[in-house]
Amino acid sequence: MVPPSPPARSAAGAPAPGGEEGAAPSVRPSRWAVLTWLGRVFHGLTLAVTIGVVGLVAAFAYFLFAGAWQSIAYFGLGFLTSDTWDGVHNIYGAGPAIAGTLITSALALVIAVPIALGVAIFLSELAPAFLRRPLIYVVDLSAAVPSVVYGFWAYIVLVPLMRMSIEPALSSFAGGHSPIGQPGTGYDIFTATIVLAVMIIPTIAAISREALRAVPRIQREAALGLGATRWESTRLGVLRSARSGIAAAVILGLGRALGETIAVTMVIGNIYILPGTLFSAGSTLASWIVDNFTEATPGIQRSAVIELAVILLAITVAVNVIARLLLRRMAEREAGGSSTRRRLRTTHAHTGLASGTGTGPVDPAAPGVGNREAVASRFAARLRTRQAVQWTFVVVASLCVVAAIAPFASVLYTAAQYGGSEVIRPSFYTAVAPLGCNPAPGVTCQAGGIGPYLQGSLIMLGLAALISVPVGLLGGIYLSEYGRNRFGRAVSFLADVMTGVPTVILAVFVFALFLYFDHFAALSAISGGFALGVLMLPITIRSSEEAFRSVSPALRESALALGFPKHRVTVRIVLGSSRSAVVTGLLLAASRAAGDTATVLLCAGGSTLWFQGLNTPTGSIPVFIYDNFGSNYANLQAAAWGAALVLLAIMLAIGLGARLAVRSKYDPTQAV
């Protein structure tokens, strides 16, 4: 007997009543049983995928520690302070790299925070309506410029500027004394600091702006209504309320600076000494990893490099933990102590003010603030100062905006100047890279192109999408539809933390993973694609979770009330109506992956040839730029700029398209 169908009108996903449950396997399953079964399979699938993601993070931690263990055990704590990196005697230490990382990041923060705050305040409080939108786009887009492009720009524009004018000027201003020092080559701590500042300003500005916008308008008006100038109302009504959001922005910026890899590597000089002055070359944890990982001999040397990655990971995580503790304290802090109360008691007694009548006899002619004439004269005396402050505020904030977007404008201009003629040539996209050559009388340089690199990038991005899109979608569905519990929140948090992990550490992990399983080469298209997939994964999970969550509960409920089982509501209604937000999130993740250099450099290596197979080293656009940014040959430099322009075009297209399509609340380009 086929059991009768139970009423379809039931909370979907709930297990069917026992009778049908037991009967289903022995006879032909009813449609209802099939649906229930499907629902369970679907739930199970999303849960399994989510658990898999957690497993991946666990593997991440395990492989890093396992890889570093030899070095940790051998060098002990002395590793942290030793300033030796001696490949002949196999003695290694992290001192210079740690010092370089901390110094550059701290200084970059000192420069970036005031400017970024100025930008955020200008955008949220001062900008006229016609400027606001375009400026916001520009700031958001400059946060999405790939690190390798900023590094290339710094190499071409910033380093000469530092060497020729800024460093000599600063040095003579300071009399050549430490910590400024004698002017250097331009490849030094100071230049790296400036590049970092340039890169984190948009990040901090964008997130701070969101924090400022979140302050209700009424709070600004409350201050204005009290006779505050714009600046005073910003200070009283807005900044105080937004400070935890601003703190979060600053900390995210710090995280990004600490882990920034390629751009720093390109300008810091990469020598392993404790930097004595601002203008001496140095290195950071990330730059030293990139520079030494691939060539490191297996054994203690490679283990030491991996230990650097572990240290970098520990610092990034520590920064986040400190930040969170700080935020919590801030929220809990109560206003003031009891000193005012005691003081007021005395005041009260002395002035002999009647209390409690509400309209107590206060002599309007009495001296002090109570007196209207006194208020008026005070007002007149202070007004000029207050207005001067207000004008300074406007000017400073505007200058901050100029300072923040000038580098971005310069990047675009430089790329167009050197690479513009390349990208309009169709063969640029199909030809192999040219032989290095400088134009001279009687010499015709071969034009060439970036065909194999473009191909490699596309193949690896395809592989990355193959991993991160399905996993990201299923994980996102789990988190938004089933995971409203402690486990789900923990996974969300974990994914957020993972978006903040420097990509160079992800690359070290994937390399170690591939070495361990030894099935595919650790330096191959498949390894590079996997690394990009790992990079995209947390972004795709979180952005699709946010997209699904934003589907209105009313829509879900009306579908459920129609008798749709939960998994079909999810697939049809939730997926369907959040399609554009989901696609946007995926595209933004892809654009981050397309521009990332550290992962493909360490995991796929480079190759000038057309694609040779999944298991062989494969070139990519960022690696092409990285390999040729310092080339002495004009045509190779031009090709590298052309490649940079291609990356920029991809970022701009995806960034602009995404922002026009949906203003997504969770914007991965703004995180790290």
Binding site: L224, G227, A335, S338, H348, G370
Partner: protein, 251 residues
């Protein structure tokens, strides 16, 4: 007749293209309470916000016509000064979060440059007494302003506005989010305060208007329909529209 404290002449106000006030000419008598009544969306808030030039803070908003304060043109004066002289209390209580009760009240004084502790203390205590809040907060003056009840928060905002000794106090439905007891306290407060400060109060509650105000103005669709003494407006309105409204036939 008392002196005129504020006066609008042919006041028009826009939000972008949309006109919200049409040719409003109204006198606000000195030392009295003027109530503004009218159905939702008729421009009461807009009118009130014009009186301390808060309207111009709304993006895209503009005004035409003149507003006089003691016979001086508001538009020619420094906007910061205008808002010192014409204080404002909003519909929802707006204490500055992250500031203690004391600091909330002292905020306006500090803007004026009052730094001396004794002077600040005196100003704060006075203002809190005027707002009838002193007894309730004396013991926890250092607690956050947002830790008070809704009615107390609203009186805190009144104290904050009073601390700088404004000549006019604008109140936009100050009781709409409060319970009857808190409302009663504020109404008493309004009546007690009018000796010191001219008050313009927007209210949806007609009974409240009769309880607290001396004069009443009735707005409809952005126009001032009628203004007169509260007694006259509720007992023998000149306009049919006013009569319909005050007798509850629409709105």
């Amino acid at each position: 007749m008392p002196q005129v404290k504020m006066e609008t002449k042919g006041l028009n106000a826009w939000y972008g293209r949309r006109q919200a006030l049409f040719d409003v000419s109204l006198d606000v008598p000195d030392g009295e309470v003027t109530a503004i009544i009218g159905p939702s969306g008729c421009g009461k808030t807009t009118f009130l916000r014009c009186l301390n030039r808060m309207h111009e803070e709304t993006p895209g908003a503009r005004t035409e016509g003149t507003i006089l304060l003691d016979g001086e043109n508001l538009g020619r004066q420094n906007v910061v000064q205008v808002r010192c002289r014409v204080g404002m209390v909003f519909q929802k209580p707006t204490p500055f979060p992250h500031m203690s009760i004391y600091d909330n009240v002292a905020a306006g004084l500090r803007l004026l440059g009052v730094r001396g502790r004794g002077e600040l203390d005196r100003g704060v205590v006075e203002a809190l007494q005027l707002a009838g809040l002193w007894d309730e907060v004396e013991e926890n003056i250092d607690a956050a302003g947002t830790s008070l009840s809704g009615g107390q928060q609203q009186r805190l905002c009144i104290a904050r506005a009073l601390a700088v000794r404004p000549e006019v106090l604008l109140m936009d439905e100050p009781c709409s989010s409060l319970d009857p007891i808190a409302t009663d306290k504020i109404e008493k407060l309004v009546q007690g305060l009018k000796r010191r400060v001219t008050i313009v109060i927007v209210t949806h509650n007609l009974a409240q208007a009769t309880r607290v105000s001396d004069a009443t103005a009735f707005f409809y669709l952005g126009k001032l329909v009628e203004v007169g003494s509260t007694h006259q407006m509720f007992e023998s309105p000149r306009e049919k529209l006013t009569e319909n409204y005050v007798t509850g036939r629409f709105g």
